[in-house]
Amino acid sequence: MSIRSSDPAAAPAMRAVVLTRRNLEDQWLPLIMAIRASNAMVTWSSSVLSGLADLAERLGQWLTFDDSTSPVSRFATLNDEDLMHELYVAGHLNTRGDGKGSIAERINSGAPFWSDEFPDLAAELAVRVAVDEPFGLRLIDEIDQHPLAAIAIVHAEFPLAFSQAALPGLLEAGRWWSGVHVEAIENAMLHILTTSPSAALDLLGDSAVLAALAGATMLDKTIARDFVRAGLYDAVEADRTRLIDGWGVVENLTVLANGEFDDGFHPGLAQGVADSMFGYVDTLAYGIGAGIENGAIRIHIDSGDSLGVLGDRDAVANLFGTVLRDADARVTMGVVLGAYTDRVINDLGATVVDRTGVESIARLGLLLRDGLNDEQAELALGAAAETARRQRIGGLIGFGAGSWMSATGVGLVTRTVVNHAVSKATDLSAEVEPDDFVDTSFGSVAYRGIQLSILRFVHEHPADHAGLAVDSVSAEDWAEVARRLDAIDAEPDDAIRGGLIHDLDNLIANSIPALDSLWRQFAGNGDLTRLKESGRRP
C-alpha cells in the first residue's frame, strides 16, 4: 500500500514517513541481513545433531521445563547480598578469558546462562536500582567490581541516572584489558547518548571522564564518536544555554592536547569533536581575530559576553592538530572549513569587499594548517574543504541547522547533504598527491576557494553589482564567467581544475577590468594573503 501525498498540508507527515523509511534502511536492514548471513544456527544444529539421543535428551529437558523454577523468581527471591554474589560470579567466573566472545555475542548465540538467565538478572537489578536507592548507590560504588551491572543496562529498563553515575567509575578504573569492562562502558555510553545528549555533555564536562575517553584505545570508535557528538552538538542545539558548557569541554580538550595527548586523541573522540565544530566554528573564527590579548584567543558567545580565554593561539592550533591526526576527523574539519567559507561569503553579501569578514576564513584556515605537521594531511584537508565549498552547505554552520547528525534522523536532508560531502571528500582525500604543476597546497586551495565563492556570489546577486562597482560588466562577460565557474565546479581532477582557474584568472585580468579590480582587492597584506602565500612547506 503506497503512502504518498503531494498535498502541501501533508508535507510534515511525508517527511516523518521518509525519515522512518530511512531509519529502517539504515538501522534495521543491515542488522537483519547480518543475522540472515550468520551461521550461528547452522553451527548450533550441527553440534546438537551429533546424535538423536542427544537431541531427544535436550528436547526432553525443554519440554519438561517447569514454570515454578523460572529464573525470574530465582533472582527475585534473593536478598541483596546473594544477588550481588550472583553478579560477581557471573561477571568473573563465566567470562574471564574463556574466549567465548562478548556478552552480547553470548546472548545472541544462545549461550547457557547468558541467553536464558542473564536477562532476568538484568531485570531484577533494574528493579532494585529503581526502587532501592541504597542498593543503587552501592552498585555504583562497586561498579568497577561489577561491570556486568553496566552491561545489564541495555537488557532492562535502568534509570538514566544509574548509567550517568556508573560511567565515570568504569572509565576511571582503566581496565581496558577486560572485554567485559569495555563492553560495560560502551553499554553505559549507548544508554546515555540515546536517552539524553544533555547528560552526555554533563559527563564530557568532567575533566577526568574526558581524559579517560581521550586515551580509551579499546573503546568502539562509533560509540565514542556518537557520544561526543551528542554532548558537544546535540545537547547545545537542544538548549543553547549549554553552549558555555560546550566551550568548557573544548577548553579542557585544549589542555589535554597540549599535555599528555599531544600524540592524538582516541579516534572516536577526535571525530566527535570535528563533527561538532559545525556548531562552534563561527564563534571560534571570530574569536581568533576579535579578542586577541597577549596572543591569547578569546572566545565570545552570541551575546558578545566573553567566556574567557580558550588558550593561546599555539595551544588551540595544537588542539586541532591533535584532532586532525585522525583521517576521518581531518576530512570532517575540511568539510567544516568549506561550509564556513560558503556561509561567511553569503552572509557578508555586498560587504564582502571589506575583507574583514572574509579574513576570518583565512584565520581559521591558518589555524588549522598550523596544527598540522605533514604535507599529505594538509592536502587532504584542503581537498575536503574545496569539495565541501562546492556543495554550498554554508547553511549547516551554527546550531539549529537541523540536527544533521542526530541518531534519530531529525533534519534528514541536511544530514544527507553532509554525509554526501564527507563521502566525496573522503574519496578525493585518498587520492590526493602533491602536484608538480598546479599549486595544490592547502593555503593556495583555500585561497582560491574563497575567490571562487566570492565570484559565484557576486554573479548570483546582480542587485549588489552597483555597490561592488562591477555593474559595468556586460551580460556576455557574466555568461562566460558563469560558464567557466560551472566547469570548474564540475571538474573532479585537481590539475585540470587548476588549469581552468588559471584560464579564468587570465580572462578576468585581460578582458574584464571591473572584476579584475574586485579580484585585486584581496591582494595586499592581511591574513588572506598569508594564507595564499603559506604555500607548500619546504
Binding site: D7, A9, A10, T20, A104, T194
Partner: protein, 92 residues
C-alpha cells in the same frame, strides 16, 4: 450548491484522512511486536527498537496533525458554503 473551493477543500480533507489511515495501518506501526527480546537481544537491536519507537511516536503525532488539518479544511468548506448561501440571490 457548494462552490469549487469548498469542494476542493473537502477533497483535500478526504485525502489527508486517507493518508492518516494508510500510515496507521502500515506494517511499521506494529513492527515492534515482532522485535521483542524473544526475537533478538543486544545493543544494536535495542537501538533499532528505540529508534522505531521514536519514529512511531512521530508518525502518530503526524497522523493526529493530518486529521486536525482535515477537520480545519472541512470547517473552512462549511463556512464557504454558508457564506455562499447567505449571498443575495443565492438563497432558495
Amino acid at each position: 450548491m457548494p462552490g469549487k473551493e469548498a469542494i476542493e477543500l473537502r477533497r483535500r480533507a478526504q485525502c489527508l484522512r486517507q493518508l492518516a489511515s494508510r500510515i496507521e495501518c502500515s506494517l511499521v506501526m506494529s513492527l515492534e511486536r515482532h522485535a521483542r527480546t524473544d526475537t533478538w537481544r543486544g545493543r544494536r537491536p535495542m537501538l533499532c527498537v528505540n529508534l522505531l519507537r521514536h519514529n512511531q511516536a512521530q508518525l502518530h503525532a503526524e497522523v493526529d496533525g493530518l486529521r486536525w488539518q482535515a477537520y480545519l479544511f472541512d470547517q473552512r468548506a462549511a463556512r464557504l458554503d454558508l457564506a455562499a448561501a447567505l449571498q443575495p440571490g443565492r438563497a432558495s
